[in-house]
């Protein structure tokens, strides 16, 4: 267990020193701040676009970090062979994989917190500048704490995407891993369409296959409550817990599979 913590700490420390990670987070913060200017264009919908853009930027940048850094976690060590000396120390391959995963998750959650802080800061400025009449016309208050629910689920989604990226990187090339992880991400959002493919295509077998794929793939659309919180529609605690629990099971499944694959591999 200690080994997992040490490795996770190592990943986190690397990420603090990584200029690319900083760049991405900075870019996200910039995007959120600039949404303030965009708000002028939307005919009074300023709070909506700031919220939409802030949530989308946090999610999008988070996914980019999760995929690209997630894939590098294992591949970089194996390619550069720094893993040779590491595995001669008292750390098993399983502890290695789990430690790397937890380190990146920690990094992502902290990045997400930074983005949330920037997000609420911009909204606070907007709220301060707005006249009471305008505030009354908003679907939900500017500094609505319910948006934290959306961010929490974004965090869960990022944990799932990271696990997926890590899984593919234990056995395939970086390029293929990126492609497969993004494929899962996109399919995970297509949920409804896959479930009801028989509405679109003729073939029954194809629709059955699609429905099967839908149930096997993680349902990322369930973790997406951005639209609800922006419009002030309530998201039930049960929904949040159920979606998170399902995601948690998937994460466990993917990580166990990853450790199994990695443990059996010859490290050339």
């Amino acid at each position: 267990m200690r080994a997992i913590a040490v490795i996770a700490g190592g990943v986190f420390r690397d990420s603090i020193r990584d200029r690319i990670a900083y760049g991405l987070v900075f870019f996200a913060v910039l995007l959120i701040a600039s949404s303030f200017l965009l708000a002028r264009l939307t005919a009074g919908q300023d709070v909506k676009i700031i919220k939409d853009l802030g949530l989308a930027a946090s999610s999008g940048i988070g996914v980019l970090i999760a995929v690209f850094f997630g894939i590098g976690l294992v591949t970089k060590e194996v390619e550069r062979r720094s893993i040779y000396s590491l595995l001669s120390k008292p750390v098993s391959r399983t502890e290695f994989v789990v430690g790397k995963y937890l380190g990146l998750v920690l990094t992502l959650l902290i990045n997400l917190s930074v983005m949330v802080a920037a997000f609420y800061a911009v909204l606070a400025v907007l709220n301060y500048l707005a006249i009471p009449d305008l505030r009354a016309s908003w679907d939900a208050p500017a500094l609505d704490p319910r948006m934290l629910v959306a961010f929490a689920l974004i965090g869960v989604e990022l944990m799932l995407v990271t696990a997926t990226a890590l899984f593919f990187s234990t056995f395939s090339s970086p390029f293929l891993s990126v492609a497969l992880t993004f494929a899962i991400y996109i399919i995970g959002h297509f949920g409804e369409d896959l479930k009801h493919l028989d509405n679109i295509v003729e073939s029954q077998t194809l629709a059955q296959v699609a429905r099967g794929v839908y149930y096997v793939m993680p349902n990322l659309a369930a973790l997406d409550v951005k639209s609800e919180v922006v419009h002030g529609v309530a998201v039930s605690a049960q929904h949040v817990l159920a979606a998170s629990a399902a995601a948690g099971l998937y994460i466990a499944l993917i990580l166990v599979a990853a450790t199994v694959i990695f443990s059996h591999r010859d490290l050339k």
């Binding site: 200690r2 080994a3 190592g10 040779y84 000396s85 590491l86 595995l87 001669s88 008292p90 010859d266």
Partner: protein, 320 residues
């Protein structure tokens, strides 16, 4: 109990995509290493030395056979606490400093932060890394990385140290320092298993060696045992030898090298005793400067074994 015990260790790779053929990297290696030895694992490039080390470190898994370290199977977690490993052409984490790397590894063994710092500091002293220890590893030369590599292999004061090409990248001063370090380890009662293709290092350090060629063990034993059968005759250095006398001695001398005016180095075959030749030379007025028995060097043994193994292999391929 053997410090290291290897039995029938075999590794096949599958090469090729459509009709994979097996490539034999290691074939039935069996050997044992005693505690407190410095054991040299020698062979030409591609012989299977690094493969063996990777099998011992469980970086790859054997096709057949087994290996034990300190009485426990190599896969055991307890084994890793008591060994150290330096990989070939090591690469560590570029953005860490030398100190940070050693402290990171120390944490994996469970040492406290203070203990880790202490060990890191003293090991870096021992391998000759000075104030550069605070620089990121990406700025280190190959030789300096090698020294850090040796330091990290010793961070837990291991009972057995596995070194893959430990002298690689080091200048002559560095090589001497590492040699001394290895000897110090032996003096402390540690076991050292190192692989190399640089024979002079093995000659200087090892109590026993093994030679692998093409994945097979072809010779093993102490240096004396291996070189014993290869007495090669004598070297006689004489002064004041007239050319005419030399011509007369051609039959009993297998080689002559002129070192200067009247000064020759004569090679006498092992079959002939040197005394009659010396008598003849003295009678001719030459003075003997030195008489040295020629023993086979490890290099001779090595080259011999490699050639024999290639001959076997080509015979095998011709026959099939």
């Amino acid at each position: 109990m053997d410090a290291i015990s290897i039995e029938g260790l075999t590794k096949h790779y599958r090469v090729g995509f459509w009709r994979p053929r097996p490539y034999v990297a290691l074939d039935g290696l069996t050997l044992g290493v005693q505690p407190g030895e410095i054991f040299g694992f020698l062979g030409p490039n591609g012989a299977g030395k690094t493969t063996t080390l990777k099998l011992l470190m469980q970086l790859i898994y054997p096709t057949a056979g087994r290996a034990e370290i300190l009485g426990a199977h190599v896969g055991d977690a307890s084994v890793k606490r008591r060994i150290g490993y330096l990989p070939e052409n090591p690469y560590f984490y570029d953005n860490l400093t030398a100190e940070e790397l050693l402290e990171y590894f120390a944490r994996l063994f469970g040492y406290s932060a203070a203990e880790g710092r202490r060990r890191a500091s003293s090991l870096l002293d021992e391998v000759g890394i000075g104030p550069e220890r605070r620089f990121a590893l990406r700025r280190f030369s190959k030789g300096m990385v090698q020294r850090v590599g040796i330091a990290q292999a010793l961070i837990n004061d291991p009972e057995i140290v596995f070194l893959d090409e430990p002298m690689s990248g080091l200048d002559p001063l560095g090589r001497r320092e590492v040699r001394e370090l290895i000897l110090r380890l032996r003096d402390k009662g540690r076991t050292v298993f190192f692989s190399s293709h640089v024979l002079s290092d093995a000659e200087a350090l090892c109590s026993r060696v093994a030679i692998v060629v093409n994945g097979r063990l072809v010779a093993t034993g102490s240096l004396d045992e291996l070189t014993a059968f290869e007495a090669k005759g004598w070297e006689l250095v004489v002064n004041g030898l007239p050319g005419a006398v030399l011509d007369g001695l051609r039959s009993s001398v297998s080689g002559a090298t002129r070192l200067g005016d009247g000064r020759y180095a004569l090679t006498l075959p092992p079959s002939a005793a040197p005394e009659p030749v010396i008598a003849a030379l003295s009678a001719a007025g030459a003075r003997v400067v030195s008489l040295t028995p020629l023993r086979a060097t490890l290099e001779d043994v090595f080259v011999e074994q490699v050639r024999a193994a290639s001959a076997d292999r080509s015979k095998a391929t011709l026959a099939s």
